[in-house]
Protein backbone atom coordinates (compact mmCIF):
# COMPACT_ATOMS: atom_id res chain seq x y z
CA UNK A 1 0.00 0.00 0.00
CA UNK A 2 2.78 2.36 0.95
CA UNK A 3 4.42 1.79 -2.40
CA UNK A 4 1.15 2.35 -4.26
CA UNK A 5 0.79 5.75 -2.57
CA UNK A 6 4.40 6.61 -3.25
CA UNK A 7 4.02 5.76 -6.92
CA UNK A 8 0.78 7.70 -7.17
CA UNK A 9 2.33 10.80 -5.62
CA UNK A 10 5.30 10.60 -7.94
CA UNK A 11 3.13 10.09 -11.00
CA UNK A 12 1.04 13.13 -10.09
CA UNK A 13 4.18 15.23 -9.76
CA UNK A 14 5.51 13.84 -13.04
CA UNK A 15 2.34 14.78 -14.92
CA UNK A 16 2.59 18.38 -13.69
CA UNK A 17 6.24 18.64 -14.70
CA UNK A 18 5.52 17.19 -18.14
CA UNK A 19 2.58 19.55 -18.60
CA UNK A 20 4.86 22.53 -17.85
CA UNK A 21 7.40 21.24 -20.34
CA UNK A 22 4.72 20.98 -23.02
CA UNK A 23 3.74 24.63 -22.49
CA UNK A 24 7.41 25.62 -22.48
CA UNK A 25 7.90 23.69 -25.73
CA UNK A 26 4.97 25.43 -27.36
CA UNK A 27 6.39 28.84 -26.45
CA UNK A 28 9.74 27.81 -27.90
CA UNK A 29 8.11 26.78 -31.18
CA UNK A 30 6.66 30.29 -31.45
CA UNK A 31 10.13 31.73 -30.88
CA UNK A 32 11.76 29.50 -33.47
CA UNK A 33 13.15 31.55 -36.34
CA UNK A 34 11.35 31.60 -39.66
CA UNK A 35 8.11 30.11 -40.84
CA UNK A 36 8.30 26.31 -40.55
CA UNK A 37 6.35 26.04 -43.78
CA UNK A 38 8.92 28.18 -45.58
CA UNK A 39 11.74 26.14 -44.12
CA UNK A 40 10.14 22.94 -45.33
CA UNK A 41 9.39 24.33 -48.77
CA UNK A 42 12.86 25.82 -49.05
CA UNK A 43 14.42 22.50 -48.26
CA UNK A 44 12.17 20.80 -50.77
CA UNK A 45 13.28 23.28 -53.41
CA UNK A 46 9.85 24.79 -54.16
CA UNK A 47 8.60 27.95 -52.50
CA UNK A 48 5.53 29.33 -54.28
CA UNK A 49 2.80 30.82 -52.08
CA UNK A 50 0.22 28.19 -53.00
CA UNK A 51 2.44 25.39 -51.74
CA UNK A 52 3.33 27.29 -48.56
CA UNK A 53 -0.35 27.79 -47.71
CA UNK A 54 -0.99 24.12 -48.31
CA UNK A 55 1.77 23.17 -45.90
CA UNK A 56 0.56 25.70 -43.34
CA UNK A 57 -2.88 24.16 -43.42
CA UNK A 58 -1.51 20.66 -43.18
CA UNK A 59 0.49 21.44 -40.05
CA UNK A 60 -2.23 23.69 -38.53
CA UNK A 61 -0.01 26.78 -38.71
CA UNK A 62 -2.86 28.94 -40.09
CA UNK A 63 -4.90 28.70 -36.87
CA UNK A 64 -4.91 31.35 -34.08
CA UNK A 65 -2.41 30.93 -31.26
CA UNK A 66 -4.72 29.54 -28.56
CA UNK A 67 -6.10 26.95 -31.00
CA UNK A 68 -2.55 25.91 -31.81
CA UNK A 69 -1.72 25.66 -28.09
CA UNK A 70 -4.83 23.59 -27.40
CA UNK A 71 -4.09 21.35 -30.38
CA UNK A 72 -0.51 20.94 -29.24
CA UNK A 73 -1.29 20.11 -25.60
CA UNK A 74 -4.19 17.77 -26.36
CA UNK A 75 -2.16 16.18 -29.12
CA UNK A 76 0.72 15.34 -26.80
CA UNK A 77 -1.73 13.98 -24.22
CA UNK A 78 -2.66 11.45 -26.90
CA UNK A 79 0.98 10.84 -27.83
CA UNK A 80 0.63 12.89 -31.00
CA UNK A 81 3.77 15.02 -31.23
CA UNK A 82 2.96 16.35 -34.67
CA UNK A 83 5.05 15.79 -37.75
CA UNK A 84 8.70 16.19 -38.42
CA UNK A 85 8.69 19.20 -40.76
CA UNK A 86 11.59 17.82 -42.66
CA UNK A 87 10.74 14.13 -43.00
CA UNK A 88 6.94 14.39 -43.03
CA UNK A 89 6.74 11.47 -40.61
CA UNK A 90 5.04 11.57 -37.17
CA UNK A 91 7.60 12.60 -34.53
CA UNK A 92 6.33 9.90 -32.17
CA UNK A 93 7.04 7.15 -34.72
CA UNK A 94 10.56 8.46 -35.33
CA UNK A 95 11.27 8.53 -31.60
CA UNK A 96 9.83 5.07 -30.96
CA UNK A 97 11.90 3.74 -33.81
CA UNK A 98 15.10 5.09 -32.21
CA UNK A 99 14.27 4.51 -28.55
CA UNK A 100 15.47 0.87 -28.20
CA UNK A 101 19.00 1.74 -29.35
CA UNK A 102 19.22 4.57 -26.80
CA UNK A 103 17.89 2.41 -23.99
CA UNK A 104 20.42 -0.30 -24.86
CA UNK A 105 23.29 2.20 -24.89
CA UNK A 106 22.38 4.18 -21.76
CA UNK A 107 21.35 1.05 -19.85
CA UNK A 108 24.66 -0.67 -20.58
CA UNK A 109 26.65 2.46 -19.79
CA UNK A 110 24.70 2.96 -16.57
CA UNK A 111 25.34 -0.55 -15.25
CA UNK A 112 28.96 -0.43 -16.38
CA UNK A 113 29.67 2.93 -14.74
CA UNK A 114 27.88 1.98 -11.53
CA UNK A 115 29.72 -1.34 -11.13
CA UNK A 116 33.15 0.02 -12.07
CA UNK A 117 32.61 3.19 -10.04
CA UNK A 118 31.62 1.33 -6.89
CA UNK A 119 34.54 -1.09 -7.25
CA UNK A 120 37.07 1.69 -7.89
CA UNK A 121 35.59 3.86 -5.15
CA UNK A 122 35.74 1.13 -2.50
CA UNK A 123 39.28 0.32 -3.54
CA UNK A 124 40.22 3.99 -3.12
CA UNK A 125 38.47 4.13 0.26
CA UNK A 126 40.39 1.09 1.47
CA UNK A 127 43.68 2.75 0.43
CA UNK A 128 43.03 6.24 1.78
CA UNK A 129 46.53 7.46 2.46
CA UNK A 130 48.36 5.19 0.01
CA UNK A 131 49.66 6.17 -3.44
CA UNK A 132 47.44 3.58 -5.13
CA UNK A 133 44.36 5.20 -3.61
CA UNK A 134 45.48 8.64 -4.76
CA UNK A 135 46.13 7.26 -8.23
CA UNK A 136 42.55 6.01 -8.52
CA UNK A 137 41.22 9.40 -7.46
CA UNK A 138 43.53 11.24 -9.86
CA UNK A 139 42.31 9.05 -12.73
CA UNK A 140 38.70 9.68 -11.70
CA UNK A 141 39.35 13.42 -11.78
CA UNK A 142 40.87 13.19 -15.27
CA UNK A 143 37.90 11.21 -16.61
CA UNK A 144 35.59 13.73 -14.98
CA UNK A 145 37.31 16.61 -16.76
CA UNK A 146 37.55 14.97 -20.19
CA UNK A 147 35.01 16.03 -22.80
CA UNK A 148 32.89 12.99 -23.60
CA UNK A 149 32.79 13.56 -27.34
CA UNK A 150 36.56 13.84 -27.43
CA UNK A 151 37.12 10.52 -25.63
CA UNK A 152 34.67 9.02 -28.10
CA UNK A 153 36.61 10.33 -31.10
CA UNK A 154 39.98 9.32 -29.66
CA UNK A 155 38.72 5.81 -28.93
CA UNK A 156 37.69 5.57 -32.59
CA UNK A 157 41.21 6.57 -33.62
CA UNK A 158 42.89 4.08 -31.29
CA UNK A 159 40.62 1.03 -31.21
CA UNK A 160 39.02 1.23 -34.60
CA UNK A 161 41.38 2.99 -37.01
CA UNK A 162 44.77 2.15 -35.53
CA UNK A 163 44.24 -1.23 -33.84
CA UNK A 164 41.24 -2.31 -35.89
CA UNK A 165 39.70 -4.21 -32.99
CA UNK A 166 36.22 -2.75 -32.86
CA UNK A 167 33.72 -1.22 -35.27
CA UNK A 168 33.32 2.53 -34.87
CA UNK A 169 29.97 3.25 -36.51
CA UNK A 170 26.38 2.12 -36.30
CA UNK A 171 24.46 -0.51 -34.38
CA UNK A 172 25.28 -3.56 -36.52
CA UNK A 173 27.21 -4.48 -39.64
CA UNK A 174 25.16 -3.30 -42.58
CA UNK A 175 24.70 -5.97 -45.25
CA UNK A 176 25.98 -8.85 -43.15
CA UNK A 177 22.43 -10.11 -42.47
CA UNK A 178 23.29 -11.79 -39.20
CA UNK A 179 20.49 -13.45 -37.24
CA UNK A 180 20.10 -14.83 -33.73
CA UNK A 181 23.28 -15.22 -31.74
CA UNK A 182 25.54 -13.88 -34.49
CA UNK A 183 23.47 -10.68 -34.61
CA UNK A 184 23.60 -10.28 -30.81
CA UNK A 185 27.37 -10.70 -30.91
CA UNK A 186 27.64 -8.19 -33.75
CA UNK A 187 25.57 -5.62 -31.84
CA UNK A 188 27.59 -6.26 -28.68
CA UNK A 189 30.80 -5.51 -30.61
CA UNK A 190 29.33 -2.26 -31.88
CA UNK A 191 28.20 -1.40 -28.36
CA UNK A 192 31.63 -1.66 -26.71
CA UNK A 193 33.08 1.72 -27.70
CA UNK A 194 29.95 3.90 -27.30
CA UNK A 195 28.99 2.34 -23.96
CA UNK A 196 32.51 2.51 -22.53
CA UNK A 197 33.09 6.14 -23.50
CA UNK A 198 29.68 7.15 -22.16
CA UNK A 199 30.35 5.22 -18.93
CA UNK A 200 33.75 6.82 -18.19
CA UNK A 201 32.39 10.19 -17.06
CA UNK A 202 29.77 8.64 -14.81
CA UNK A 203 32.22 6.10 -13.50
CA UNK A 204 34.35 9.02 -12.32
CA UNK A 205 31.39 10.52 -10.45
CA UNK A 206 30.44 7.21 -8.80
CA UNK A 207 34.05 6.54 -7.82
CA UNK A 208 34.34 9.83 -5.96
CA UNK A 209 30.91 9.43 -4.40
CA UNK A 210 31.54 5.83 -3.27
CA UNK A 211 34.82 6.77 -1.67
CA UNK A 212 33.40 9.72 0.29
CA UNK A 213 30.34 7.73 1.27
CA UNK A 214 32.39 4.74 2.44
CA UNK A 215 34.75 6.91 4.47
CA UNK A 216 31.70 8.47 6.15
CA UNK A 217 30.13 5.10 6.83
CA UNK A 218 33.38 3.77 8.31
CA UNK A 219 33.11 6.38 11.09
CA UNK A 220 29.73 5.10 12.28
CA UNK A 221 29.14 3.37 15.60
CA UNK A 222 27.98 0.09 14.10
CA UNK A 223 31.32 -0.23 12.35
CA UNK A 224 33.14 0.29 15.64
CA UNK A 225 30.89 -2.35 17.18
CA UNK A 226 31.65 -4.76 14.38
CA UNK A 227 35.34 -4.13 14.83
CA UNK A 228 35.03 -4.64 18.59
CA UNK A 229 33.27 -7.94 17.95
CA UNK A 230 36.43 -9.00 16.14
CA UNK A 231 34.98 -9.35 12.65
CA UNK A 232 37.45 -9.57 9.79
CA UNK A 233 38.14 -6.16 8.18
CA UNK A 234 37.17 -7.44 4.74
CA UNK A 235 33.78 -8.55 6.05
CA UNK A 236 33.26 -5.23 7.81
CA UNK A 237 34.09 -3.40 4.58
CA UNK A 238 31.65 -5.42 2.53
CA UNK A 239 28.74 -6.06 4.89
CA UNK A 240 28.74 -2.99 7.12
CA UNK A 241 30.44 -0.17 5.29
CA UNK A 242 29.66 -0.74 1.62
CA UNK A 243 26.00 -1.66 2.15
CA UNK A 244 25.30 1.55 4.01
CA UNK A 245 27.43 3.61 1.69
CA UNK A 246 25.37 2.46 -1.29
CA UNK A 247 22.26 4.42 -0.29
CA UNK A 248 23.50 7.91 -1.21
CA UNK A 249 24.85 6.41 -4.43
CA UNK A 250 21.37 5.28 -5.46
CA UNK A 251 20.10 8.83 -4.92
CA UNK A 252 22.95 10.24 -6.94
CA UNK A 253 22.41 7.73 -9.74
CA UNK A 254 18.83 8.95 -10.04
CA UNK A 255 19.99 12.54 -10.30
CA UNK A 256 22.49 11.59 -13.01
CA UNK A 257 19.78 10.31 -15.36
CA UNK A 258 19.44 13.69 -17.05
CA UNK A 259 23.19 13.89 -17.54
CA UNK A 260 23.13 10.43 -19.08
CA UNK A 261 20.65 11.63 -21.72
CA UNK A 262 22.93 14.55 -22.53
CA UNK A 263 25.91 12.23 -22.78
CA UNK A 264 23.97 9.94 -25.10
CA UNK A 265 23.39 12.83 -27.52
CA UNK A 266 27.16 13.31 -27.85
CA UNK A 267 28.16 9.63 -27.95
CA UNK A 268 25.46 8.71 -30.45
CA UNK A 269 26.54 11.60 -32.66
CA UNK A 270 30.13 10.39 -32.77
CA UNK A 271 29.35 6.69 -33.23
CA UNK A 272 26.37 7.14 -35.60
CA UNK A 273 24.41 5.11 -33.05
CA UNK A 274 20.79 5.13 -34.29
CA UNK A 275 19.18 6.35 -31.03
CA UNK A 276 17.21 9.46 -30.08
CA UNK A 277 20.43 11.34 -29.33
CA UNK A 278 21.58 10.95 -32.91
CA UNK A 279 18.05 11.84 -34.02
CA UNK A 280 18.38 15.06 -32.01
CA UNK A 281 21.64 15.89 -33.78
CA UNK A 282 20.00 15.26 -37.15
CA UNK A 283 17.05 17.45 -36.15
CA UNK A 284 19.54 20.18 -35.22
CA UNK A 285 21.39 19.96 -38.51
CA UNK A 286 18.16 20.18 -40.47
CA UNK A 287 16.63 22.84 -38.18
CA UNK A 288 13.69 20.48 -37.66
CA UNK A 289 12.35 22.30 -34.60
CA UNK A 290 9.23 20.23 -34.06
CA UNK A 291 11.24 17.02 -34.01
CA UNK A 292 13.83 18.68 -31.76
CA UNK A 293 11.23 19.71 -29.19
CA UNK A 294 9.52 16.33 -29.38
CA UNK A 295 12.79 14.63 -28.49
CA UNK A 296 13.40 17.18 -25.74
CA UNK A 297 10.02 16.40 -24.18
CA UNK A 298 10.63 12.70 -24.52
CA UNK A 299 14.05 12.81 -22.92
CA UNK A 300 12.58 14.72 -19.97
CA UNK A 301 9.88 12.05 -19.66
CA UNK A 302 12.55 9.33 -19.71
CA UNK A 303 14.44 11.06 -16.91
CA UNK A 304 11.28 11.34 -14.81
CA UNK A 305 10.50 7.64 -15.27
CA UNK A 306 14.05 6.81 -14.26
CA UNK A 307 13.78 9.04 -11.18
CA UNK A 308 10.61 7.26 -10.09
CA UNK A 309 12.35 3.90 -10.50
CA UNK A 310 15.34 5.02 -8.40
CA UNK A 311 12.98 6.35 -5.71
CA UNK A 312 11.34 2.94 -5.56
CA UNK A 313 14.65 1.12 -5.46
CA UNK A 314 15.74 3.46 -2.68
CA UNK A 315 12.65 2.81 -0.58
CA UNK A 316 13.11 -0.92 -1.11
CA UNK A 317 16.77 -0.73 -0.15
CA UNK A 318 16.16 1.40 2.94
CA UNK A 319 13.08 0.31 4.88
CA UNK A 320 13.43 3.29 7.21
CA UNK A 321 12.02 5.69 4.65
CA UNK A 322 8.95 3.69 3.71
CA UNK A 323 6.72 6.63 4.52
CA UNK A 324 8.91 9.19 2.83
CA UNK A 325 6.51 9.99 0.01
CA UNK A 326 7.73 13.55 -0.28
Amino acid sequence: MVYARLILMRLFKAVIVLFLIVIFNFLLIQLAPGDPAAILAGQAGAADQEFLNQLRERFGLDQPMYVQLWRYVSGIAMLDFGYSYRLGVPVFDLIMDRLPATLLLTGTAFVLSLVLGIVAGSMAAARVKKPSGSLIMALALVFYATPLFWVALMSVVVFSVYLGWLPAYGLYTVGADYTGFALALDIAKHLVLPATTLALFFMAIYTRMTRTSMLDAAQQDYVKTARAKGLKPSIIQRRHVLRNALLPIITLAGLQAGQMVGGAILTETVFAWPGIGRLMFEALEQRDYNLLLGIFFFSAALVIVFNIITDLVYSLADPRIKKGAS
Binding site: V17, L20, I21, L28, L31, A32, P33, L141, V142, Y144, A145, T146, P147, L148, F149, W150, L153, M154, V156, V157, V161, T212, L215, L255, A257, G258, Q259, V261, G262, G263, I265, L266, T269, V270, M280, F281, L284, E285, R287, Y289, L292, L293, I295, F296, S299, A300, V303, I304, N307
Partner: protein
Protein backbone atom coordinates in the same frame (compact mmCIF):
# COMPACT_ATOMS: atom_id res chain seq x y z
CA UNK B 1 48.18 30.15 8.21
CA UNK B 2 47.54 32.57 5.42
CA UNK B 3 44.99 31.91 2.70
CA UNK B 4 47.59 31.21 0.06
CA UNK B 5 49.63 28.95 2.34
CA UNK B 6 46.57 26.80 2.95
CA UNK B 7 45.81 26.80 -0.76
CA UNK B 8 49.40 25.85 -1.63
CA UNK B 9 49.35 22.95 0.81
CA UNK B 10 47.21 21.16 -1.71
CA UNK B 11 49.81 20.35 -4.36
CA UNK B 12 47.18 19.51 -6.98
CA UNK B 13 45.67 22.95 -6.56
CA UNK B 14 49.04 24.54 -7.19
CA UNK B 15 49.47 22.54 -10.41
CA UNK B 16 45.94 23.53 -11.41
CA UNK B 17 46.68 27.20 -10.78
CA UNK B 18 49.81 27.04 -12.96
CA UNK B 19 47.93 25.36 -15.84
CA UNK B 20 45.18 27.93 -15.52
CA UNK B 21 47.67 30.81 -15.66
CA UNK B 22 49.23 29.32 -18.81
CA UNK B 23 45.81 29.13 -20.46
CA UNK B 24 44.99 32.70 -19.46
CA UNK B 25 48.34 33.73 -20.94
CA UNK B 26 47.40 31.87 -24.16
CA UNK B 27 44.16 33.82 -24.36
CA UNK B 28 45.93 37.15 -23.81
CA UNK B 29 48.83 36.44 -26.17
CA UNK B 30 46.69 35.02 -29.00
CA UNK B 31 46.14 38.33 -30.83
CA UNK B 32 49.87 39.16 -30.48
CA UNK B 33 51.30 35.83 -31.63
CA UNK B 34 48.64 35.16 -34.25
CA UNK B 35 47.34 38.56 -35.33
CA UNK B 36 45.58 37.05 -38.35
CA UNK B 37 42.04 35.74 -37.93
CA UNK B 38 42.09 32.06 -36.98
CA UNK B 39 39.46 31.56 -39.71
CA UNK B 40 41.84 32.56 -42.54
CA UNK B 41 43.02 29.82 -44.85
CA UNK B 42 46.76 30.21 -44.75
CA UNK B 43 48.26 26.96 -46.00
CA UNK B 44 47.28 23.82 -47.82
CA UNK B 45 44.76 21.72 -45.85
CA UNK B 46 45.64 18.65 -43.74
CA UNK B 47 49.20 19.74 -42.96
CA UNK B 48 50.41 17.35 -40.21
CA UNK B 49 51.89 18.80 -36.99
CA UNK B 50 55.59 19.81 -36.97
CA UNK B 51 55.85 19.48 -40.74
CA UNK B 52 56.28 23.17 -41.44
CA UNK B 53 57.56 26.27 -39.65
CA UNK B 54 54.82 28.50 -38.27
CA UNK B 55 52.35 25.61 -38.17
CA UNK B 56 53.45 23.60 -35.12
CA UNK B 57 50.08 21.84 -34.88
CA UNK B 58 49.37 21.62 -38.60
CA UNK B 59 46.39 22.91 -40.56
CA UNK B 60 42.76 21.83 -40.66
CA UNK B 61 40.42 20.69 -43.44
CA UNK B 62 40.29 24.24 -44.87
CA UNK B 63 43.98 25.06 -44.44
CA UNK B 64 43.50 27.11 -41.28
CA UNK B 65 46.24 27.25 -38.66
CA UNK B 66 45.39 24.85 -35.78
CA UNK B 67 47.79 26.54 -33.34
CA UNK B 68 46.16 29.90 -33.99
CA UNK B 69 42.68 28.42 -33.46
CA UNK B 70 43.83 26.83 -30.21
CA UNK B 71 45.15 30.13 -28.83
CA UNK B 72 42.12 32.17 -29.88
CA UNK B 73 39.82 29.42 -28.60
CA UNK B 74 41.24 29.79 -25.08
CA UNK B 75 39.74 33.26 -24.90
CA UNK B 76 36.26 32.07 -25.89
CA UNK B 77 36.26 29.17 -23.43
CA UNK B 78 37.35 31.30 -20.48
CA UNK B 79 35.00 34.14 -21.39
CA UNK B 80 31.94 31.92 -21.74
CA UNK B 81 32.85 29.96 -18.61
CA UNK B 82 33.18 33.11 -16.49
CA UNK B 83 30.25 35.07 -17.85
CA UNK B 84 27.76 32.22 -17.82
CA UNK B 85 28.76 31.32 -14.26
CA UNK B 86 28.26 34.95 -13.21
CA UNK B 87 24.81 34.98 -14.80
CA UNK B 88 23.96 31.68 -13.08
CA UNK B 89 25.03 33.23 -9.76
CA UNK B 90 22.85 36.26 -10.45
CA UNK B 91 19.85 33.94 -10.85
CA UNK B 92 20.69 31.38 -8.17
CA UNK B 93 21.95 33.52 -5.29
CA UNK B 94 18.87 35.78 -4.93
CA UNK B 95 16.45 32.86 -5.36
CA UNK B 96 18.28 30.75 -2.80
CA UNK B 97 18.67 33.67 -0.39
CA UNK B 98 14.99 34.57 -0.51
CA UNK B 99 13.87 30.94 -0.18
CA UNK B 100 16.21 30.24 2.72
CA UNK B 101 15.63 33.53 4.57
CA UNK B 102 11.85 33.69 4.42
CA UNK B 103 11.06 29.96 4.41
CA UNK B 104 7.42 28.86 4.39
CA UNK B 105 5.32 29.26 1.27
CA UNK B 106 7.89 31.38 -0.59
CA UNK B 107 10.48 28.68 0.02
CA UNK B 108 8.07 25.99 -1.16
CA UNK B 109 7.23 27.77 -4.41
CA UNK B 110 10.84 28.67 -5.20
CA UNK B 111 12.06 25.15 -4.46
CA UNK B 112 9.39 23.56 -6.72
CA UNK B 113 10.57 25.96 -9.43
CA UNK B 114 14.18 24.92 -8.83
CA UNK B 115 13.26 21.23 -8.85
CA UNK B 116 11.50 21.69 -12.17
CA UNK B 117 14.71 22.95 -13.72
CA UNK B 118 16.69 20.16 -12.09
CA UNK B 119 14.40 17.50 -13.54
CA UNK B 120 14.79 18.67 -17.14
CA UNK B 121 17.86 17.09 -18.74
CA UNK B 122 20.50 19.83 -18.64
CA UNK B 123 22.27 19.41 -21.92
CA UNK B 124 19.11 18.71 -23.94
CA UNK B 125 17.60 21.96 -22.58
CA UNK B 126 20.75 23.90 -23.44
CA UNK B 127 20.67 22.51 -26.99
CA UNK B 128 17.03 23.44 -27.49
CA UNK B 129 17.54 26.96 -26.09
CA UNK B 130 20.56 27.72 -28.27
CA UNK B 131 18.94 26.21 -31.37
CA UNK B 132 15.80 28.31 -30.92
CA UNK B 133 17.60 31.55 -29.98
CA UNK B 134 20.15 30.98 -32.78
CA UNK B 135 23.79 30.31 -31.89
CA UNK B 136 25.67 33.37 -30.58
CA UNK B 137 27.81 34.13 -27.55
CA UNK B 138 24.78 35.66 -25.83
CA UNK B 139 22.46 32.72 -26.43
CA UNK B 140 25.14 30.22 -25.36
CA UNK B 141 25.87 32.15 -22.16
CA UNK B 142 22.14 32.40 -21.38
CA UNK B 143 21.50 28.73 -22.08
CA UNK B 144 24.40 27.59 -19.89
CA UNK B 145 23.32 29.94 -17.09
CA UNK B 146 19.71 28.72 -17.27
CA UNK B 147 20.74 25.08 -16.91
CA UNK B 148 23.33 25.65 -14.18
CA UNK B 149 21.76 27.93 -11.55
CA UNK B 150 19.75 25.33 -9.54
CA UNK B 151 22.70 23.97 -7.50
CA UNK B 152 23.58 27.58 -6.55
CA UNK B 153 20.06 28.25 -5.34
CA UNK B 154 20.07 25.06 -3.28
CA UNK B 155 23.45 25.78 -1.71
CA UNK B 156 22.61 29.41 -0.84
CA UNK B 157 19.21 28.36 0.54
CA UNK B 158 20.81 25.77 2.83
CA UNK B 159 23.36 28.32 4.08
CA UNK B 160 20.69 30.94 4.73
CA UNK B 161 18.51 28.46 6.58
CA UNK B 162 21.33 27.61 8.96
CA UNK B 163 22.36 31.24 9.47
CA UNK B 164 19.03 33.08 9.66
CA UNK B 165 18.54 32.46 13.40
CA UNK B 166 22.08 33.21 14.50
CA UNK B 167 22.59 35.81 17.19
CA UNK B 168 24.12 38.43 14.93
CA UNK B 169 21.09 38.22 12.67
CA UNK B 170 18.74 38.55 15.64
CA UNK B 171 20.77 41.54 16.77
CA UNK B 172 20.47 43.16 13.34
CA UNK B 173 16.71 42.61 13.48
CA UNK B 174 16.54 44.21 16.94
CA UNK B 175 18.28 47.36 15.79
CA UNK B 176 15.68 47.58 13.07
CA UNK B 177 17.58 46.64 9.92
CA UNK B 178 15.33 45.75 7.01
CA UNK B 179 15.16 42.21 5.66
CA UNK B 180 16.96 43.26 2.48
CA UNK B 181 19.80 44.79 4.46
CA UNK B 182 20.08 41.71 6.66
CA UNK B 183 20.14 39.42 3.62
CA UNK B 184 22.75 41.41 1.72
CA UNK B 185 24.90 42.89 4.51
CA UNK B 186 24.67 40.32 7.30
CA UNK B 187 24.08 36.83 5.92
CA UNK B 188 25.35 36.89 2.35
CA UNK B 189 28.98 37.74 3.24
CA UNK B 190 29.03 34.68 5.48
CA UNK B 191 27.95 32.37 2.66
CA UNK B 192 30.65 33.52 0.25
CA UNK B 193 33.21 30.73 0.83
CA UNK B 194 31.05 27.83 -0.35
CA UNK B 195 29.69 29.97 -3.21
CA UNK B 196 33.23 30.72 -4.41
CA UNK B 197 34.16 27.03 -4.35
CA UNK B 198 31.00 26.05 -6.20
CA UNK B 199 31.52 28.84 -8.73
CA UNK B 200 35.02 27.65 -9.64
CA UNK B 201 33.63 24.18 -10.35
CA UNK B 202 30.78 25.71 -12.32
CA UNK B 203 33.19 27.56 -14.61
CA UNK B 204 34.69 24.15 -15.43
CA UNK B 205 31.30 22.62 -16.17
CA UNK B 206 30.33 25.65 -18.25
CA UNK B 207 33.45 25.25 -20.38
CA UNK B 208 32.59 21.57 -20.95
CA UNK B 209 29.02 22.52 -21.87
CA UNK B 210 30.16 25.22 -24.28
CA UNK B 211 32.57 22.87 -26.00
CA UNK B 212 29.85 20.23 -26.34
CA UNK B 213 27.44 22.77 -27.83
CA UNK B 214 30.00 24.01 -30.36
CA UNK B 215 30.90 20.41 -31.14
CA UNK B 216 27.29 19.86 -32.23
CA UNK B 217 27.50 22.93 -34.45
CA UNK B 218 25.79 25.29 -31.99
CA UNK B 219 28.80 27.53 -31.41
CA UNK B 220 28.86 31.23 -32.26
CA UNK B 221 29.72 31.20 -35.99
CA UNK B 222 31.96 34.26 -35.56
CA UNK B 223 34.35 32.99 -32.92
CA UNK B 224 36.81 30.12 -33.08
CA UNK B 225 36.27 27.69 -30.21
CA UNK B 226 37.81 24.39 -29.19
CA UNK B 227 34.52 22.53 -29.43
CA UNK B 228 33.97 23.81 -32.94
CA UNK B 229 37.45 22.66 -34.01
CA UNK B 230 36.74 19.13 -32.79
CA UNK B 231 33.26 19.09 -34.33
CA UNK B 232 34.53 20.31 -37.70
CA UNK B 233 37.18 17.56 -37.73
CA UNK B 234 34.79 14.81 -36.63
CA UNK B 235 34.18 13.44 -40.10
CA UNK B 236 37.87 13.38 -41.05
CA UNK B 237 39.06 11.71 -37.84
CA UNK B 238 40.48 8.80 -39.85
CA UNK B 239 42.77 11.00 -41.95
CA UNK B 240 43.67 13.71 -39.44
CA UNK B 241 43.57 12.77 -35.77
CA UNK B 242 45.53 15.86 -34.69
CA UNK B 243 42.69 18.21 -35.65
CA UNK B 244 40.58 16.79 -32.81
CA UNK B 245 43.40 15.78 -30.50
CA UNK B 246 44.91 19.15 -29.55
CA UNK B 247 41.71 21.12 -28.88
CA UNK B 248 40.48 18.19 -26.77
CA UNK B 249 43.65 18.24 -24.67
CA UNK B 250 43.17 21.98 -24.21
CA UNK B 251 39.62 21.49 -22.91
CA UNK B 252 40.73 18.63 -20.68
CA UNK B 253 43.55 20.65 -19.12
CA UNK B 254 41.41 23.74 -18.55
CA UNK B 255 38.59 21.79 -16.91
CA UNK B 256 41.03 19.74 -14.87
CA UNK B 257 42.88 22.87 -13.71
CA UNK B 258 39.65 24.56 -12.63
CA UNK B 259 38.60 21.47 -10.67
CA UNK B 260 41.96 21.32 -8.93
CA UNK B 261 41.82 25.02 -8.10
CA UNK B 262 38.29 24.51 -6.77
CA UNK B 263 39.52 21.78 -4.44
CA UNK B 264 42.35 24.02 -3.27
CA UNK B 265 39.94 26.88 -2.61
CA UNK B 266 37.79 24.50 -0.63
CA UNK B 267 40.78 23.56 1.53
CA UNK B 268 41.80 27.19 1.97
CA UNK B 269 38.34 28.60 2.70
CA UNK B 270 36.99 25.77 4.84
CA UNK B 271 40.06 24.89 6.92
CA UNK B 272 38.02 22.91 9.45
CA UNK B 273 37.00 20.32 6.91
CA UNK B 274 40.17 20.05 4.88
CA UNK B 275 42.60 17.20 5.36
CA UNK B 276 39.81 14.99 6.61
CA UNK B 277 38.68 13.83 3.25
Amino acid sequence: MSFFARFAQNRGALVGLIILLVIIAMAILAPLLFPESPWRMVQRPFLPPLSQDGFPLGTDTMGRNVASGLMHGAWVSLLIGLVSTSVALLIGVPLGAIAGYYGGLIDDVLMRFTEFFQTIPNFALAIVLVAIMQPSITSIVLAIAIVSWPPVARLVRAEFMSLRNREYVEAARLVGQSNTTIIIRQILPNTLSPIIVLASLMVATAILLESALSFLGLGDPNVMSWGYMIGAARTVIRQAWWLSFFPGVAILLTVLALNLVGEGLDDALNPKLSRER
